[in-house]
């Protein structure tokens, strides 16, 4: 079925056809923004308490808090002795819709925990961050609460996280992560945390 839509050209009034008044209106808008922002910047520069002129967040140095429920990069939980809590039951691997988790199970000989992951690998490039692995885990061994949201890399290999890499991440608990209280505070007004990039670079 064909529907016909008749488009009507907007008729300009004689006043608008002279063109300059309309140009002037546009100019007023842009100029107002320019001067208001300029004044706010200048005010800040001399130490006055003006409104934050521009809402842009200077990303690497400043960042908004991430919701604690945010599904960030995975990590493997440890037992008190540092071994992975994972028992290689493959529930996460089974639940994973992207097939990005590869576990190789092994038999441990210490007799306490029979089965453990010899290799636990996640291909982040395949991962869709659905969080089903976390849901599936019967041991609470995998979590996505690291607060890592920056996945830059120069090669595909960097996105292939092995067991040791996933295990060593406990230090991020208070660095990148936000608690619920912090996050609620953020909802009231813009709270921007300044991050020491140098310290973080050392952390990696």
């Amino acid at each position: 079925m064909i529907t016909v839509k008749v488009l009507k050209t907007v008729e300009l009034s004689a006043w608008q056809k002279t063109y300059y008044p309309e140009l002037w209106k546009g100019m007023v808008v842009t100029s107002r923004h320019f001067f208001v922002n300029l004044a706010r910047f200048a005010g800040r520069a001399v130490g006055m308490k003006t409104k934050r002129p521009i809402v842009t967040i200077q990303y690497p140095e400043e960042r908004r808090p991430i919701s604690p429920r945010w599904r960030a990069r995975h990590r493997l939980m440890q037992r008190p002795d540092g071994s992975p809590r994972c028992v290689a039951c493959m529930m996460c691997e089974t639940a994973c819709p992207d097939k990005c988790i590869y576990i190789t199970a092994g038999e441990s000989l210490d007799g306490r925990i029979e089965k453990y992951p010899v290799a636990f690998e996640i291909d982040l490039l395949r991962c869709c961050f659905c969080g089903l692995c976390v849901e599936a885990c019967p041991e609470d061994a995998i979590r996505m609460d690291t607060g890592y949201v920056e996945f830059g890399g120069y090669s595909r290999g960097e996105y292939y996280m092995d067991r040791e890499f996933l295990l060593k991440d406990l230090g991020m608990e208070d660095k990148g992560r936000t608690t619920h209280a912090q996050y609620r505070g953020e909802l009231d007004g813009v709270v921007v945390t300044r991050v020491d990039l140098l310290a973080q670079a050392k952390h990696h």
Binding site: Y20, L23, G26, M27, V29, T30, S31, H33, F34, N37, L38, F41, I54, V55, T56, Q58
Partner: protein, 368 residues
């Protein structure tokens, strides 16, 4: 003789240094101004040892980058013309500035020095002539690149520039008729006269329509938005498609210099040049340098103070006009090509002709 050469060299150096620096800083101003207009922060990431200077360092980084980039010449293009084109685009712009007076004549060591490189009596024709030469830059760049995109960009550019050059010339005829001279120095001086003793006889006041025609036409000559069809960097590809590195940079240096020069011409012809309203020097008011307000008040000032105020005035007017150009460039969307041509030939040209006719008639009537 040696003194004359010294004076000329001095003014040349002064003007060149100002334009080049101005053009460089304008690249930063453009970014920052557009950012403020659209509630952004603008370029600020480049830093030297942590010093960022609100993004000024970015301009340095850009310059460095352009210098060290590969200087590419299309293998089947015309080598000579390919290297000449950027010069053709840049040089006429600087030359145009030669006839713009940026301050009143001053007397140094018994010698009258005009703050102007070239005191030509055909000054405005000189401006138009070198504006015309700038077309060659775009055309040669398009031709010598041996590339379809560049050639068509060059054709677009030359068509646009030639069309708007006519408007440029026609709109200047009004002020020329009014002031009765082509010499910028005299024209500026004539703008320090007043209707009824208090309305300055600035070009914008005696020839408002000419100003409204000249400003867009001149912006079209600079090939900047909303008239940036010749370049259309990201979408329609312009005449400098095959240019890289500093050669490409020269086109843009020329473009930014053109902003300065255009502001200079506009100031000279329409905004009273270096004159501050009601400020007179010793020659004009026979020894009584200073402010002579229309209500009779007189604020005496030293001779040199007047000169400095006038040069500052010129600078301020220049800045205002450059700001205006930037503001226009970041406010209005680009024309379509047919609109561009229609505005020029079917709308601006008749208005310019009518303006000339009316101006002529009025002058005739007044002369009776």
């Amino acid at each position: 003789m040696l003194g004359d050469i010294g004076i000329i060299l001095g003014t040349i150096v002064f003007v060149l240094v100002n334009i080049l620096n101005g053009a460089g800083i304008l690249t930063w101003v453009e970014r920052k101004q557009s950012a403020l207009m659209s509630d952004r922060i603008g370029a600020n990431r480049a830093s030297i040892l942590g010093i960022r200077l609100w993004g000024l360092v970015n301009s340095l980084a850009d310059a460095l980058k352009m210098i060290f980039k590969e200087d590419f010449v299309p293998p089947k293009g015309n080598r000579l013309l390919h290297s000449l084109a950027p010069m053709f685009a840049m040089l006429p712009v600087f030359l145009t500035m030669a006839v713009i007076p940026f301050g009143p004549p001053v007397e140094i060591a018994g010698r009258v020095v005009k703050l102007q490189i070239l005191d030509l009596d055909i000054g405005l024709l000189f401006v138009l002539a070198f504006g015309g030469i700038a077309v060659y830059g775009a055309m040669l760049a398009g031709w010598s690149s041996n590339s379809k995109y560049a050639l068509m960009g060059g054709m677009r550019a030359s068509a646009q520039m030639i069309s708007y050059e006519i408007i440029l010339g026609l709109s200047l005829i009004g002020p020329i008729l009014v002031f009765g001279t082509l010499e910028p120095g005299i024209m500026v001086n004539m703008q320090n006269e007043y209707f009824f003793g208090w309305i300055p006889k600035w070009g914008i006041i005696v020839q408002p329509i000419a100003f409204l025609l000249f400003l867009p036409a001149a912006m079209a000559e600079t090939k900047r938005a909303p008239f940036d069809l010749p370049e259309g960097e990201s979408e329609i590809i312009g005449y400098h498609a095959e240019y890289s590195g500093m050669r490409w940079g020269m086109f843009f240096l020329g473009e930014f210099a053109e902003i300065v020069v255009l502001a200079g011409v506009l100031t000279t012809v329409f905004l009273g040049g270096y004159h501050f309203p009601y400020l007179f020097d010793a020659i004009e008011k026979t020894g009584q340098a200073g402010f002579h307000f229309p209500w009779g008040q007189y604020v005496p000032l030293g001779e040199w103070t007047v000169v400095i105020i006038r040069m500052a005035t010129f600078g301020a007017k220049l800045c205002l006009l450059m700001w205006l150009q930037m503001q226009i460039r970041w406010t209005y969307p680009r024309f379509r090509y047919d609109q561009l041509m229609r505005v020029s030939w079917r709308e601006m040209m008749p208005i310019a002709l009518v303006n000339i006719a009316i101006t002529g008639l009025v002058i005739l009537w007044l002369a009776k």
